[in-house]
Structures are given as C-alpha cells and as structure tokens.
C-alpha cells in the first residue's frame, strides 16, 4: 500500500517534470560524463605513479603527457559538473514554481467548506514548507542519487577491467556497511519517535503555559508549571541523548567498514603486486576506488530517506491540488449585470453535515429595497445565511433566486458583484489603504475614493495617518483600531454601491462614538438597497421589514417585530431578557 502510494506520487512528480525533459536529459548526460571522468582520473594518476619508480627510473616525458591529459579531464569534469548542477537547479525550481502556482490556483477555487474545515496553518504549510522540503529532496535526489548509482556502476566496471580478485574483495565487504547503517537506522527509529513525541508534549506545554503566561501568573501557578516542565524536560533529555547518540554511531561504524574495505584492498592488492599481478600505480588507483566506492552507498542511503520524506511532502501537496474544486459553472451560465435587488429563497434545505439538519424548507420573498434583520444569540449560525446568499455554500435542496434567476445559473462573478458585504470580522489585505478601498472598483478615480471615504466617515482618520491614503497597513490591519477597520470595509463597499448589502452590526468591541459613525455610514449605504443585516441593535431590528430569528443554526421564527412579539416565542423571550435585569 505504502509503496503503491509512493509509486503513484512519483508518477505525478514525473508528470510535472516532463515539461523540463530537455534539462533532465542534459542533466543525466552530464552526470554520466562527470562520473566517467572522475573515475578515470585515479587510473591516470596510478599510471603516472608507475612512471616514478626510483632515481634514474623516472619517465618525465610520459608523466608530462599524462598530466596534460589529466589537466584537460579535470577541466572537463568541473565544467560538466557545473552544467549538471545548473540543470538540476532549473528543473527543481521550475517544477516547484509550477506546483506552487497550481496549489494557489486551487486555493482560489476551493469550496468554502474545505477552507472552513481546515486550519490555515495546515494549508499554508502544504504550500510553503512541504513544497520547500520537496524541492530539497528533489534537488538532492537529482544531484546525488544519479551520480551515486553511476559511480557505483562505473567503479565496478573500472575495477573489473583492472583486477577481478581485488574487485571481489570490495564487493563482498561493502554491503556490510549498508547492513550496519540500516541496522542502526532501524534500532534508532523508535528512539527518534519517542523523542519527537516527547518534544511534541513539551511544545504543547510551552505553548499552553507561555502562551497564557498572564493567567499562569494571575493564579500563582508558576512553580507548578516549572515542575511539570522540568519533568518533561528531563524525559526529553534522556530520550534525546539516546536517539542522538545511537544514531551518531552510524558514521563511525560505516567509516570503520570503509577502512576494512581499504585494508582488504591493501592486502589483496599488495599481495598480487608482489606476485606481479598489478603495478604499484594500479594499487594506488584501487585504493582510491575503495574510498570512492563505499561513499555513494552511504550517500544513497541518506538520499533514500530524504527522497521518501520528499515524496511524503509531495503527496500532501498533491492531495491539496487534487481536492474537489467548487462546483464548476454550467455552460449556459448567464452574466447578469442589472440586478434589481429582489431575492427569493424557495424551499431551501441546507446543512453542513448530513446528520445535523439546519435549515429545512425555508421560504422568503425579499422585495427590492427591503431590510431583513437576522437576530439570535451568539453562535446561532447567522453566517449560514450569508454563506448561502453569497453562494459560498450551495443549498442542498430548493433554490435561491436573485432578480428571478437561480443563482446557480448565473456566474459567481455577477452574483457576488451584486452584493456589498461588511463583516464584523473585518479583513484587510496587507497593502496601502487605497488598495484596500478600491478592491471592488480597481479603476476608481481619486475623487471617487475620497467621496466614498467621506461618506463613510473614514476620510478624517485616513487623512491623519502618516501617509494618508498611501499608508501601508499590515496583515490583520495592525495599527488600526477595530472601529477604523470596519469603517474602511464600509468605504470599500461605499465605493461600488451594489444593489444588495450584507451587513454585520458591531457588538461590543467598538466604542460608542465610532459605533454611531458606523451606524450613520450603514444608514447611508442602505438607502434604497436590499439589505440583510445581522442585527444587535433594537432600532435596526424594529425597523426591519422581516426579522429572521435564529437559534442553534436553525431559523426558528420569521416575521416583523409586532407579529413576533405577539407570537410570544423565542424572539419575545430574547427581546424581554435584554430589558429585565
């Protein structure tokens, strides 16, 4: 199963690399050239050594011509190595650029359901950390895996052409090093697992205690916290020591095996040199091969783990890329530009999860220009209504019509352009104030921008910012107060003035004066427009044409203020509880 998945992922990776097949072939070609030249060099060095026997027995002419050849070869090796590296860089970085773009496009096209149910950190870590890790693995795989394999094969061939017996010595002893390495890796695996789970435990504790240090201090819990921390810390120390020490044996152990190979070649080579089988120069070449031959084995085992890791990361990225996108728009979809502001919900059924029914057979007729207030205790699911109106989620049954057209039969673009939305959780993008205001109308003139800002009471505070409209605000709108952020969001809608509005009234986090300004801005916005208001203020609620009362995600009552009061149901209860202490 695991290998099958890995194979699957590998195929997908290869499909992405296919675009760069030219560089891929080039890289393979130069890897082969590099390895051949690298391996041939020790032979020439050996030959040169054979020309240096004893005083009077030195063939300077022969050595010189060998050195010349070697010089050219060294240059060639370096050049082809460089080309290979550059090709690998190109393949890797272009591939991950493609993958990242693909992932981002997918994010823009994911159903809200996916985004709402996954933490941002998780998705971000796929696009950033996983892709990065994948790139590292890919690059390492290209540069070391191929050259490693080629080196092993090449060395074997070169050695065999020189002397079969000594080659056998090398071939027999080398696997011992692989065996040792994999033995240690297997033994330490559980130790590393224990280490990372203990580390996770400690991080959790740190996150909890340091993250809430103020509460810890308020309740005088410091000493107990320290005790708990030290206990985990000590356990971590012990299991880290074990994991680090035992895994660090790998290096000396394989090096020891290498030295055994070296000694083996030494004795076999020297003996056959005594018997006249090979020359001293050839022995020298053999010895350097013995060094070269074992190294790629160690490298490859490192690369294999790295590659496995990279594949695991790739699988996580592909999982995101292959995630089901939002329902595609049908071919006969219409682009409606002139919405009259009428909205109708007909027999709407909706729930986030099938087993938990929320909205059932809901009907509502909204005439252009009317006001709908959505009321209910916190967490009653008021956003559900927004999700359906804006088509962030699709209804399960029934339909929603805007200007008489089923919203699934019009482009998302034209539906959403018809709405102006101001949520309580204000969201501003990092950039200038101006960029944020013109989101809905990128070609707005300076006059239009200022007029919109004035109408929404934002102009005066924007003017007082260091760079006015060009002040850069950071993510989450840092530096601006909650009320100012909300005013900016209103300005954003004020600028494009769509026929329908979705507004979220402020609750407690805004001071009274700003709130009055926001109210005024809202009032100006709503003039003559269909508006859905998540309402907290009594005046808004009383003036609404229809009140939707929500509780536990369901719409439980519907009607105007008077009717609902007479009904003496949940609304009446809610209304009365506000004014009795």
């Amino acid at each position: 199963m695991q290998t099958h998945n890995n194979g699957e992922t590998m195929r997908k990776v290869l499909r992405h690399i296919r675009k760069y097949w030219f560089y891929f072939i080039l890289s393979l070609l130069f890897a082969a050239v590099t390895v051949t030249l690298t391996l041939y060099l020790p032979i020439l060095i050996g030959e040169a050594v054979d020309l240096i026997l004893a005083p009077g027995q030195v063939d300077f002419e022969g050595i010189w011509s060998l050195l010349l050849i070697m010089g050219v070869m060294i240059g060639g090796t370096a050049l082809s190595q460089w080309i290979m590296n550059v090709c690998n860089n190109k393949i890797t970085y272009n591939t991950i650029q493609d993958i990242r773009e693909e992932a981002f496009r997918k994010i823009e096209n994911l159903p809200l359901k996916y985004i709402d149910s996954h933490s941002y950190g998780e998705v971000v870590s796929r696009v950033i950390a996983d892709v990065d890790q994948f790139a590292d693995g890919l690059l390492m795989g290209f540069t070391q895996f191929f050259t490693g394999v080629l080196t092993i094969v090449g060395t074997l061939i070169f050695m065999l052409t020189m002397n079969v017996g000594i080659t056998l010595v090398v071939v027999v002893i080398t696997p011992v090093s692989l065996f040792v390495a994999s033995f240690i890796a297997k033994k330490t695996y559980t130790m590393f697992q224990l280490q990372s789970s203990t580390r996770g435990e400690q991080t959790g504790l740190i996150d909890e205690m340091i993250g809430n240090q103020k509460v810890v201090a308020a309740f005088g819990y410091q000493e107990k916290a320290q005790k708990r921390f030290d206990e985990v810390n000590e356990r971590l120390r012990q299991c880290s020591l074990r994991a680090i020490f035992f895994s660090s044996i790998t290096n000396p152990a394989t090096r020891f095996v290498n030295s055994l190979v070296y000694a083996g070649v030494g004795v076999a080579g020297a003996l056959s040199a005594v018997a006249g089988g090979i020359s001293v120069g050839q022995l020298t070449s053999f010895l350097s091969y013995a060094n070269q031959y074992t190294k790629p084995f160690n490298e490859i085992s490192g690369v294999v783990t790295e590659l496995q890791n990279a594949l695991a990361c790739a699988a996580r990225i592909f999982e995101l890329i292959e995630e089901e996108p939002q329902t595609p728009e049908p071919p006969d979809v219409v682009e409606l530009t002139d919405l009259d502001g009428s909205v109708a919900l007909e027999h709407v059924y909706f729930s986030y999860a099938p087993e938990q029914k929320l909205i059932e057979d809901f009907n509502l007729e909204v005439k252009p220009g009317s006001r709908i207030a959505i009321v209910g205790p916190t967490g009653c699911g008021k956003t559900t209504v927004i999700n359906l109106l804006m088509r962030f989620y699709d209804v399960n049954q029934g339909c929603i019509r805007v200007s008489g057209t089923d919203i699934r039969k019009m482009t998302r673009h034209s539906l959403r352009a018809g709405y102006g939305m101001v949520l309580q959780e204000t969201w501003l993008k990092s950039g200038t104030i101006r960029e944020n205001i013109i989101m809905g109308k990128p070609d707005a003139t300076e006059e239009e921008i200022v007029a919109a800002a004035k109408a929404s009471h934002a102009h005066s505070f924007i003017k007082r910012l260091p760079q006015g409209y060009d002040t850069i605000i950071t993510e989450e709108g840092g530096g601006l107060s909650q009320g100012q952020k909300q005013l900016l969001c209103i300005t954003r809608v004020m600028l494009c003035l769509p026929p329908m509005l979705i507004l979220d009234e402020a609750t407690s986090s805004i001071d009274t004066r700003t709130e009055i300004k926001i109210q005024e801005a809202f009032a100006r916005l709503m003039e003559g427009r269909t508006s859905f208001i998540v309402a907290h203020r009594l005046s808004t609620i009383r003036e609404a044409d229809v009140i939707l009362v929500m509780r536990d995600g369901k719409i439980i009552e519907q009607g105007d203020h008077e009717t609902l009061l007479q009904k003496n149901g949940f609304y009446a209860q809610l209304y009365n509880s506000q004014f009795s202490a």
Partner: protein
C-alpha cells in the same frame, strides 16, 4: 552566546573529553597513508609478504581504535549537547515565568515559544556538531599538511598554497550566498503571507471577485522567488567544480614535484602515493567544515536570540516579607493613579482617585480603549502604576509579596483561557486543595453546573488544550468558576460575560450577589445592563474617570454615561 556557556559548566568533563577523543581518532586516521606508503616501499619492493600482512593488520587495528575513540567522542558530545540544552531550556522557562506583563507585552508570546522550541533545537545541533567536528576538521587539514612536511618539505609547499586557496573558495562561496539565502527567505515569506491572506480573507476576496488578480500577484511573487532561488543555486553550484579543480590540479603538481624528488633520490614511490592520499583527505574535511560553519552560524544566531530573552529582566520586584494590613481601611483605593505603558506615547490612565468599600459591587464602563482593563490590571499588580499608588486594604500593592496579594484576588480575564486536563483540574488552579463540594458550589454560582453535569464524567470530563472542545460561553463560565473556587476577597470580572446571553448574564450576576457579602466585586462591561445595579459605577473615557456614582446619579449628570446608556436602551423603550 557567552552567557549561555554558564550552563555548560556541569558538562565540562564531557566537553573536553569529546573533542579530545575526536582528535585521537583523527590522529590515527592521519597515520593510514603512512602505512600504505610503507607497504609499497618496504613490503612490495622487498616482496616481504609477512610484512605486508602485518601492516594491513596494523591498518585494521588503527580502524578499531578509531572506531572506539569516535564512538566515545560521539557519546560525550551528545551528552554534553543534550544536557546543556535541557539546562538552558529549564532556566529559560523559569526566566519567562518570572517576567511581568510589561515584558510579555513587548516580546509577544509567539516569539518566546519559537525561542524555546526551534531555536533551542538549532543550538543543540550546533553544540553537538561543534564538539564533534570543530576541532577535528581543521586538525585533519593542518595535520595532513604537517604530515606532508615530515615526508618532504618541497612537496609540502604544494599544500601550503592549496589549503588557503581552497578555504577562500569554500568560505567565499558561503559568504556570498548566505546573505542571498536571507533574500530567498524574505521572498518565501511574501509567498507565505499571500497564501495565508487568501485563506483568512477568502470570503472578502471572493465577494469582490478578486481571485484572478490575486493569482496574478501570487504568480509574480512566486516567479521572483524562483528567480532568486536559481541565482543562489547557480552560485553554490560553482563550489563543487571549483574545489574539484583546485584539489586535482594540486595533485598534478604534487605528482610532478614528486617525480623530480624521486629522481633526486629524496622521495620514494610510496611516499608520493602518501602525499596524494593526504591531498584527498583534505578535500573531504573541508567540505565537512563548510557544512559545519553553516550549522554553527545558524546555531549562533539562535543562541543570541535566546540570550536576549535572558537579558530581559523583570521590571517588577516583590518584597519577601508579608505585610500587616489595615483592617479598617477601604479594600481598594486609587490615589492619583496614572499609567503609561512601556513604549507608548500617551497615558492610558490618568489621575484616578476613588475608593471601594468592602463588600461593594462596582461597575466599570466605557468604550474600547477607555482603559477599563488597564484599571483592573493594576489591582493584582499586573502592571505598576507610573504615577500615584494603588492600595489594597490600606497597603500599597508594591509592598505585598506576590502570593499574599494575588491570593486575595480572583480575576476572570477577558480572554477565557482553559488548560488541558479535567474540569476539576482547571478549577483547582484557583485553590489547589479545593474539595468537590467547593468546586460544585463555584460551578453553581457561575451558571456552569448544568452543562458540566451533562458532560460525560461531570467535573472529571476532559478539557482540550485551550478549551477547544467547549463553546465560548461555557469557557467563560468555567473561568468564572475558577476564580470563585479561590473564595477571593476581591473578585474581578473583566468583560467576562460577553459570550453569555442576557438572561444567563443576569442570573450569573444575581448568584454572585448572593455569595458571601464581604466579597468585593468589580465588573467591567460594555453593557449598561450588566452594571446598572452596582453600588458604584466608574465611567471611563480616554483613561479618565468622567463619572463616579450610582446609575441614577450618572444618568442625570454624566453625558458619557448617558450616551452609552441610551445607545443601548433607546429612550422610547424606557417609558
């Protein structure tokens, strides 16, 4: 880094023995080429088979000794590195615990957490590697050169030229590429920010149909990142070929000089082979050294970041001696109190003067940023007033030992924070040895009894970290219960009923009022309804008390209070 070294002192033995055994191993490694050269010059030249076997056995013996030495060294290094970081981590945790709110505000908790986790791991890797390799690699490089000198001074000159040339290339490439890697990191950060923003702002982006333009901007940033990565990649791609050229050209020169020296009878064939072997040992070590330098630079930076936290001293000192309280004094008195936060320009509180009698209920109301939370934070001395003084039971809060003061006060912060563990565990934060009855009483008052009993296991039901498995309102009620378990003299509710509906809020206030009449209760709220029946209401506006009195008094003479009240209770409804 220097200050952190103090924590190394328990591992002095290990940190000396580790590198020492490494050096021993390296020395044996350096002997190998000499043995090979002896095999060639003596063994093969004289056709002396027993000598050859003997020498090869010597090589194996050198290998075994090397293995033993290096495993010993690895053990000491690992022990020192792991022990050292464990010590630093514990000390850092204790240090952070000792910091006051002021320092926590300036540093931010997320930085502190990364310091304690990922930075600490980097330091551990760094220390471990340093102990293992920092002496070994240079030792082999220079050792190889010295061995070359013992063989032949003239040939050794080749080493003298090669080693600096190699170092220049290896460290030059690193010096050039490291700042570039920082740029790559910055590019990556931009891509990350855009991705994150598109997730958190997905509704707004889709509502404004900005998907296409976001994709374009992402592609642009992504392409810039790729370009930067390729540029850096091309530079570091130079390192291997160049070092390869230098080492091998040096080998060629070595062979040429060797040939002349052999001709002159100064060197033997075997010695030339030994020289060539030394040259290749140097290459391997230099590459290791370069990797080491990268790890160490990173670890160094991390260590400095950790150290900067140790440098941050708590700005609050607490007396050890417990104080004598004044039994007839008011429970809380503010005398000309002003508060300016560190690094803030303007005062957050100014010129506050009021007294609260024992057993009173006091409401504190005002808009956002009016200073409500700042005011109540002064009472348990989370911050020190920058002007005037705050008295509890007639004693300046700065004269109280930390525990004596905080044991009196039950505070329910705005953000309802719970910890992993059972509900009972969480409640016992207030009082370690509280009985089950005491816990149930507290839950009853905080209106939490009903939902707690409904949960499987009742008060032994588990709470996930940060209370994720509870709703906002449930969390708030449990934090209130936690403060009540302590049976505090002063109970502070800092806007802690905001997630409760009005009816529950009212019931809660009623239950609190029926508790022990000697408890003084401070309620911070944005809702006029929550505080309107308090004995005393303090109206804050922009850090100043613009009105102190009862509801009726304030409604008559405090415009700010009127504004707040009538915005929540329109006049016509009053009638």
């Amino acid at each position: 880094m220097k200050k952190l070294l103090v924590y190394m002192k328990d591992y002095k033995k290990e940190s000396i023995l580790g590198p020492l055994f490494k050096l021993l191993e390296a020395s044996f490694e350096l002997l190998v080429p000499l043995v090979v050269s002896a095999i060639i010059d003596v063994g093969i030249a004289n056709r002396d088979v027993p000598y050859i076997v003997c020498m090869v056995l010597l090589m194996v013996a050198l290998g075994v000794i090397g293995l033993v030495c290096s495993i010993t060294a690895q053990y000491f290094a690992a022990k020192a590195a792991v022990g050292f970081t464990a010590k630093v981590r514990s000390a850092l945790f204790a240090h952070i615990q000792s910091l006051s709110y002021t320092e926590m505000d300036t540093m931010g908790t997320s930085t502190l957490i990364t310091r304690m986790t990922s930075d600490m791991n980097q330091v551990q890797n760094g220390v471990n590697l340093v102990l293992r390799l920092f002496l070994r690699s240079p030792f082999i490089v220079f050792g190889a050169m010295i061995m070359a000198f013992t063989i032949d001074v003239k040939s050794a000159m080749v080493f003298v030229v090669t080693i600096p040339a190699l170092s220049v290339v290896v460290f030059g490439v690193m010096l050039i590429s490291m700042p570039l890697y920082k740029k790559v990191q910055a590019g990556l950060d931009r891509v990350l920010r855009r991705t994150r923003e598109n997730l958190s702002g997905v509704r707004v982006i889709r509502a404004f149909n900005k998907e296409e333009s976001e994709i374009q901007q992402f592609d642009e940033e992504n392409r810039q990142l790729t370009k930067m990565q390729m540029f850096v990649g091309r530079i570091s791609a130079l390192m291997n070929p160049i070092t390869y050229v230098i080492i091998n050209v040096a080998t060629l020169v070595l062979i040429w000089t060797g040939a002349w020296q052999v001709e002159g009878g100064i060197l033997t064939q075997g010695q030339v082979v030994a020289l060539v072997n030394y040259m290749s040992q140097i290459l391997v070590e230099l590459i290791k050294l370069a990797n080491l330098v990268i790890t160490v630079t990173k670890a160094w930076a991390c260590a400095n970041r950790i150290e900067s936290i140790f440098d941050q001293q708590s700005s609050m000192q607490y007396p050890k001696q417990s104080v004598q309280e004044d039994p007839i004094a008011d429970v809380i008195t503010f005398e000309n109190v002003g508060l300016t936060y560190k690094n803030a320009g303007a005062e957050s509180l100014s010129n506050l003067n009021f007294s609260i009698h024992r057993g009173q209920t006091v409401g504190i109301i005002g808009g956002t940023g009016a200073g409500k939370t700042s005011l109540v934070n002064l009472i348990p001395r989370f911050y020190d007033a920058s002007q005037g003084r705050v008295l509890v039971n007639g004693v300046d809060v700065r004269e109280y030992p930390q525990d004596q003061l905080r044991d009196k006060i039950g505070i329910v912060p705005q953000k309802a924070v719970l910890f992993g563990g059972s509900i009972a565990d969480n409640l016992r934060w207030g009082k370690e040895d509280a009985t089950r009855e005491e816990l149930m009483d507290a839950l009853r008052i905080s209106q939490a009894e009903e939902f707690v009993e409904k949960r499987e296991g009742g008060i032994d039901a588990m709470v996930a970290q940060n209370g994720k498995n509870l709703s906002g309102g449930q969390r708030q009620r449990l934090t209130i219960a936690r403060a009540l378990v302590r049976k505090p003299e002063i109970l502070i509710l800092d806007d802690s009923a905001s997630a409760l509906d009005y009816a529950t809020d009212a019931k809660l206030r009623k239950a609190i009022r029926q508790m022990d009449p000697s408890v003084t209760v401070l309620i911070v709220s944005q809702r006029a309804a929550s505080i309107q029946y308090a004995d005393q209401i303090i109206v804050l506006d922009d850090g100043e008390a613009v009105g102190i009195g009862t509801h009726q008094e304030l409604l008559q003479n405090c415009p700010v209070y009127q504004e707040i009240y009538y915005s929540q209770f329109p006049k016509e409804v009053q009638a």
